[in-house]
Subunit: 250 residues, 2 copies
């Protein structure tokens, strides 16, 4: 039986620890997009490639990444969700499947994203947070980091906070929120929202703020790094394991 082509919107959760990021790569490397394409082929028999709202790096997690795909299938959305979860590997799951307008495109239509970067700053390492948090042993000054983060809010040229070698037309981006939240006995969460981000932008921003937190850089030094418009003016790229894509807005 021939089915009409429909567009689906998939909401995905994944533990990025053992995944080589979103985008399909040559070779045997496991990626989120690759696992999802394979699961769709097994379930529907169609060879397709899903479009993701953002190309998360190797090791980065997602609570609610969004993907779009066009399929000529008779599956009801919820039956498709269950069938995909039955064949996807343990570290990737589909939280929701919905039928979308025919021209829905997860990347092009995304209006904003929310990321959370988690740091463990307790007195000792935390094995239960080893996969989800970046551990910083030196005591961090949360107020100084909070002050520094405010320099990044607004529309700026983020050239200093862009992975070297990345090719994009413009390095201007708008950050609507950059909050630093200290929780309980050693957890520090950075909440970063914006329309879109340059490659490694959130991780370089956090790496720069961690320099502020340890006193290697002043809070005002964050604005200076931004103004310099060169990668070397900002701090190091914070490790992928602390980063989670929390939400994509449409």
């Amino acid at each position: 039986m021939q089915h009409a082509v429909r567009t689906f919107r998939l909401t995905l959760e994944y533990d990025g620890t053992d995944l080589a990021g979103w985008q399909v790569q040559a070779g045997a490397t496991r990626t989120v997009q690759g696992e999802l394409n394979a699961a769709l082929a097994r379930v529907t028999g169609e060879v397709v490639s899903v479009v993701g709202a953002g190309r998360t790096d190797a090791g980065v997690h997602a609570e609610a990444q969004v993907a779009s795909v066009r399929l000529a299938t008779g599956f009801a959305p919820d039956a498709l969700r269950r069938a995909l979860n039955a064949v996807l590997p343990r570290d990737v799951a589909v939280r929701e499947v919905a039928e979308a307008p025919p021209d829905f495109h997860a990347l092009r239509d995304a209006r904003g994203k929310l990321y959370r970067y988690a740091v463990w700053n307790g007195a000792s390492r935390s094995p239960l947070r080893a996969r989800s948090h970046h551990t910083v042993a030196v005591r961090l000054d949360v107020d100084a980091m909070r002050e520094g983060a405010q320099a990044l809010v607004g529309r700026h040229d983020f050239t200093s906070f862009r992975a070297a070698g990345s090719e994009v037309l413009t390095s201007e981006r708008s950050v609507s929120r950059f909050d630093v939240e200290a929780r309980g006995d050693g957890e520090i969460l950075f909440w970063v929202a914006g329309e879109g981000f340059l490659r490694h932008m959130v991780r370089i921003a956090v790496g720069t703020l961690l320099e502020v937190g340890t006193g290697r850089r002043t809070p005002a030094g964050v604005a200076e790094a931004l103004a310099a418009c060169e990668r070397s003016a900002a701090g190091p790229t914070a490790p992928a394991r602390g980063l989670t894509l929390v939400r994509v807005d449409y």
Copy 2:
């Protein structure tokens, strides 16, 4: 230089996923006690065996397991903590080291323990909770489980909730708290406190309550299972991955 023998109290956190439980075993198997003994030998040069407050099973986690050990070492407690964390594997850490009274014994002196059992009952699997939660796909009736759990509070003969073949003198135990907490969009936490527990007792209790949650057993059936005093009257042993030793009281 000869140091006087001192007794230390160690507070431990571990991710039990890849560990074969607390107790040292023959062969190459990794256990918490074995890793800690090896770390102590490397750091202090002494061959000792730590005593744990409870012998957690393979796959069970701990936020604050307690261990005691006697050492003829000159280390200050906090320096010992740091040295141990530098050599322990990533899934085991020492949160605290304190000097204790000479006769302190982590097992004998423990007055109570708090366990948490985490269930994921969301509409889809949750990869980010795959290591810490037991996933139950069927929607659970939290009120019914809460009602059933109350039958387990108090002093009872827990023969029905004891692993077959375990050898203990008495199967009477006191449970001071058995709470069922529903959180947000699919997380259910069982909080169980008591002086001490029989082997697999918490996991069999949770396994029995999950039968109540799915409607296979009535809330009153929990008291009946208890009264029967035979293992076959209770439900299955819930998987280790959902269980965390939260605290030991002295």
